[in-house]
């Protein structure tokens, strides 16, 4: 038993269509993953082009690394990381990471824009001065 079937069913269809409109609108228009150039003058001069860990790990876990670094530096008075390879790094986004990755627009922003995340690192940390 259903009254006003003629109104309710088309109404439901329109409602579902409206609610899923963003999916319809964007379907088939996938943006290509960004091609990120990571060669900066400093990196080009490095004998072994390697960050503190391998590329895949840094891609997946750089945010955890930075989070750990912050706690160690601010709260534990430890400012240097000794990696598994025995190399030492100053635990500082502004004074260490960006010394090599001096191309913030390319290195940080391209991917962050692509995945629509907006970390607020640069509200306080000073970004490297890039040559335009």
């Amino acid at each position: 038993m259903m009254y006003d079937k003629k109104l309710i069913i088309p109404g439901l269809v329109i409602f579902v269509w409206l609610m899923t409109l963003p999916f319809w609108y964007n379907s088939g228009k996938a943006t290509a993953a960004p091609e990120v150039k990571i060669d900066t003058p400093v990196i080009q001069e490095m004998a072994e082009k390697k960050c503190i860990e391998d590329k895949q790990y840094m891609r997946e876990a750089h945010m955890q690394v930075l989070d750990d670094w912050r706690d160690e530096v601010v709260r534990e008075r430890k400012r240097v990381e000794v990696t598994t390879g025995g190399k030492t790094y100053e635990m500082s986004l502004q004074n260490e990471c960006m010394k090599c990755h001096s191309n913030k627009a390319e290195f940080c922003d391209k991917c962050h824009d692509y995945v629509a995340v907006d970390p607020y690192c640069w509200d306080c940390h000073i970004e490297p001065k890039e040559k335009k």
Binding site: K78, R79, V80, V82, T83, T84, Q94, D123, I126
Partner: protein, 258 residues
């Protein structure tokens, strides 16, 4: 049947033992050296950092120089409006620095001196007790520090601090910073900030910026209160010193020779 149960229990027990032992074996057999975090070589360490200000030798010019150097070093904005201004270190009159200690017959020489004031890095800091996010905390060496990432700008700490040592960023401070020090971050709108006893300089093995300014004048001493041989302890034992609002029980760590 009996035999079957015995066997089952034996195997189950052995399996449980094996599972329990696995993490231990993993830990011992882990050949890869784990990542280590260490202090920087040459960092200045102490059990209890403290400061002594010799107000007899302090001049207005020197206090202003300290303020300038400190604020430039830490990217502190210069905002004219006193409601919005940010202060880490500044000079104060006697009755503001030590309220209630002045009277109408006070020594005019003392009353007209500039008193350099900053965060007292209290041993029992009120700001730390009230901070709801633990953004403000006391480090093991006694420095009352802020983790700007955690500050939500509630300003409880400003209400709690009896010394007015904290300032709130009512607006984005960046346009008000003259020459930026690229080695140190700035702050953002909506966070509280204060003196950090130059924690970043101590980590590099150098004395705080204001102490460096007063190096030749011998009017500002900084060192380990826990070490009887330290300069601050020697100065404290040979001079009569007072602290700001010590009666409130926060146990300030900045001492003043009057």
């Amino acid at each position: 049947m009996e035999n079957g149960r015995r066997k089952f229990l034996k195997i189950a027990g052995a399996a449980a033992l094996g599972l329990g032992v696995k993490p231990v074996i993993d830990a011992v057999a882990g050949a890869d050296e784990p990542v280590k975090y260490v202090a920087r070589e040459g960092a200045l360490q102490a059990k209890r950092w403290a400061m002594v200000v010799d107000t007899r030798k302090f001049t207005q010019e020197l206090a202003e120089e300290c303020r300038k150097v400190c604020h430039a070093e830490h990217n502190v904005p210069e905002i004219e409006n006193p409601k919005h201004e940010i202060k880490w270190i500044w000079s104060e009159t006697f009755e503001h620095a030590f309220p209630g200690h002045e009277h109408e017959y006070s020594d005019p020489d003392v009353m007209t001196r500039p008193f350099m004031v900053l965060c007292n890095h209290c041993d029992d800091p009120a700001c730390v007790r009230v901070c709801p996010t633990k953004a403000t905390f006391k480090r093991e060496d006694g420095i009352v520090l802020m983790d700007m990432h955690r500050c939500i700008g509630c300003r409880f700490c400003m209400a709690a601090c009896p010394f007015g040592a904290r300032s709130f960023n009512w607006k984005d401070p960046r346009p008000y910073i003259g020459e930026t020090n690229d080695e140190f971050p700035t702050r953002m709108k909506g966070v509280v900030e204060k003196c950090n006893f130059c924690a970043e300089r101590l980590a590099k093995g150098v004395m705080p910026a204001c102490v460096e300014v007063c190096k030749d004048k011998e009017c500002l001493f900084f060192g380990d209160l826990d070490d009887p041989e330290s300069e601050v302890r020697k100065v404290l034992s040979t001079n009569h010193t007072v602290r700001r609002k010590a009666e409130l029980g926060t146990n300030p760590m900045v001492y003043y020779i009057i």
